[in-house]
């Protein structure tokens, strides 16, 4: 069996603060296979973006990696000297950000930004790099690339800029693209176009995708496997269809019930009350228990570990209930309240 393209084991990220230490990512493990589209879902503050940035060594100040292992093609790269590590990571992966306006250098022509990696990193001549950039622009669906090559970021629309960002990500010939909420800042129609570009790339170029989003709809349009993060940990993982039809963690269940689903018969939306736990304090018990509609007394004692709950599926919930039963419980409660 070939090792996965990317494997992360037990990643911990801290953010030092004046009087405390915010334990933002608490032992995340995940794998992405070659050309596999994987989603990482959770609300803001769950540590999903930090996880993504840590993978490329691009954490914002003052966050830092405390521990963790990264394997590429089964090889542990964590021990490499910093320069070679960065080289190895950036050769394998590249990244797309949420806000394309701030992610692009405002004083550099967009074409030059795409051509930079080919000329500076892959050693192409100026003319070759330019040709590569124009091709990439065409590939991500930018019409009239020769003319747009000369423009500056502020002269392009949001959708066009995000396409430029994707072209930049592709310019290093990566095997995996890390996308951090790539469509959140865009209109719905443009969102669909950008997601279509990402899907097409995966099929035609065999590039893997690790997509971070708070939006289940976006992830389910693009990915085949999901990780759900809550309070710095993965609480559930598995195939998209399994997770959506039969969630095994109340958090995943609540997320699914908080977006309208036209197929579902019961149209009542569930809101998740309360706030995620304060991660400057040690977590006791299940981190979701205070907000969980189904929490029992036992849930508040000892944080549950991620356990296998089916083929290729893991959940960090002690309750072995099914989504049907949870649905019934929610309806029942709503009924009695009325």
């Amino acid at each position: 069996m070939t090792p996965p393209l990317l494997e992360v084991r037990d990643l911990h990220v801290d953010i030092p603060m004046p009087h405390a230490r915010l334990h933002a990512v608490r032992g995340v493990s995940l794998t992405v296979g070659a050309a596999e589209p994987v989603g990482l879902v959770g609300e803001s503050g769950s540590g999903k973006s930090l996880t993504l940035r840590a993978l490329l060594g691009l954490l914002p100040r003052p966050a830092r990696i405390v521990s963790g292992t990264v394997l590429i093609d089964g090889e542990d790269v964590t021990g490499l000297p910093p320069k070679r590590l960065r080289r190895r990571l950036t050769d394998t992966m590249s990244m797309i950000f949420q806000d394309s306006l701030t992610a692009l250098n405002p004083v550099m022509r967009v074409g030059d930004q795409i051509a930079e990696a080919p000329s500076r990193k892959l050693g192409k001549s100026r003319a070759e790099a330019r040709a590569i950039a124009v091709d990439l622009m065409r590939e991500v669906g930018i019409a009239d690339p020769e003319r747009r090559y000369e423009l500056y970021p502020h002269q392009l629309s949001g959708g066009m800029r995000q396409r430029v960002c994707i072209a930049i990500a592709l310019s290093t010939k990566p095997r995996l693209i890390l996308a951090d909420e790539p469509t959140t800042a865009l209109d719905v129609t443009i969102q669909a176009q950008v997601l279509a570009v990402l899907r097409q790339l995966r099929q035609e170029e065999h590039v893997g995708l690790l997509l971070v989003s708070h939006d289940l709809a976006v992830v389910s349009q693009t990915c085949s496997r999901l990780y759900v993060m809550y309070a710095g940990k993965v609480v559930e993982s598995g195939d998209l269809t399994d997770l959506v039809t039969e969630p095994r963690h109340p958090y995943t269940f609540s997320l699914l019930r908080s977006v309208p689903d036209p197929d579902r018969r019961v149209a009542r939306l569930l809101t998740i009350h309360g706030r995620p736990p304060d991660l400057t304090e040690p977590v006791t018990g299940c981190s979701f228990a205070p907000r969980c509609p189904f929490a029992e007394h036992a849930c508040r004692e000892g944080e549950p570990a991620l356990e296998p709950v089916g083929p290729g599926r893991h959940s960090a919930c002690r309750r072995v209930d099914t989504a049907d039963r949870w649905n019934a419980m929610v309806e029942e409660e709503a009924g009695s309240a009325r």
Partner: protein, 313 residues
């Protein structure tokens, strides 16, 4: 083409400022107690000459028409006549102005050479030893007058080490270059702390921005990220700071020229003050103001060239 139109429009917008400058310079002479004409001519003037000048300046006419006469002379390049030097003020200025411009240009170059590496180093190694030292220097430098700095440089590099001439400007180009080093460094050392401070701050801001993360995620070298992406962006705001301060420090060339005996317009101004040569002082004050206006214009033009987001219309 749009850029040329932009420059032309900026030039046109300078007209009110230039009129204002001429206003202040015009009133400078009126501040002097007594009759302007006899003040201008000096103590040894004959009554006949005073009367002629009075008529020429229109001193018996209303103030507005006096000003218009003055403005008319200005527009024809006539800044009056220096009786002390027996020469037209315009000639005095045109012979000494190149030295001052040369001093300003070399001072700016030295400033960039000193400030950019230090600011980049401080920003890249934020809160490190180098950063703390570099941040402390401007506080000390702020209280250090340019003339004192010049004297120290003369003492060390001119008299003790003998590397550079102590004073003067020489006659050949090689002399000019050697003669301008210490004065240029003096100007730069007064200017550099301010520029370091602003460039460091904008470098730090830029280095934490998303597009730097994008650039780093490409896997290109750190040097390329810092110099190619961060410095270019940080320069956009620092050019304005540099420009404003060059304009401000144009006045310090006056002191530096004095210390190093450079025959520029600053030195000329002080000599004219000590010789009570009013027309020359007036003309040079005007020349200084025009230099500031030109520096500000160059700053705007450079800023527009560096930052594609500036609206050129």
């Amino acid at each position: 083409m749009r850029y040329l139109v932009f420059i032309l429009k900026r030039l046109v917008s300078l007209i009110p400022v230039l009129i204002g400058i001429s206003f202040i310079v015009f009133f400078l002479i009126r501040l002097i107690p007594g009759d302007p004409a006899s003040t201008l001519l000096g103590v040894h003037a004959t009554p006949q000459a005073v009367k002629e000048l009075r008529d020429q300046m229109g001193l018996d006419k209303p103030l507005l028409s006096q000003y218009l006469t003055f403005l008319g002379h200005l527009l024809r390049g006539d800044l009056g006549f220096s009786y002390v030097y027996s020469s037209s003020v315009m000639d005095l200025i045109t012979t000494s102005l190149p030295v001052t411009i040369w001093l300003l240009v070399s001072g700016t170059l030295f400033t960039v050479v000193i400030a950019v590496p230090l600011a980049v180093l401080a920003a890249a190694r934020r809160n490190g030893l180098a950063d703390n030292v570099i941040r402390a220097v401007p506080v000390v430098g702020l209280g250090l007058p340019a003339f004192l700095l010049g004297i120290v440089l003369i003492l060390v590099f001119g008299l003790k080490l003998g590397w550079f001439p102590v004073a003067g400007y020489g006659l050949s180009l090689a002399d000019h270059v050697r003669g301008i080093v210490l004065p240029g460094v003096t100007v730069a050392l007064s200017l550099a702390p301010i520029v370091i401070r602003s460039l460091r701050a904008s470098m730090i801001e830029v280095l934490s921005s998303d597009y730097i993360v994008t650039a780093r995620s490409k896997g290109i070298g750190t040097a390329r990220v810092v110099l190619g992406h961060a410095l270019r962006n940080a320069a956009v705001s620092s050019v304005t700071v540099l420009g404003v301060n060059i304009a401000y420090l144009t006045g310090s060339t006056l002191v530096v020229e004095r210390v190093f005996s450079l025959p520029g317009i600053g030195q000329q101004m002080i000599n004219s003050i000590l010789g009570r040569d009013f027309p020359t002082v007036q003309g040079i004050t005007l020349a200084f103001a025009i230099m500031v206006v030109v520096v500000n214009l160059l700053t705007d033009v450079t800023h527009a060239a560096l930052d594609p987001r500036v609206q050129l219309t």
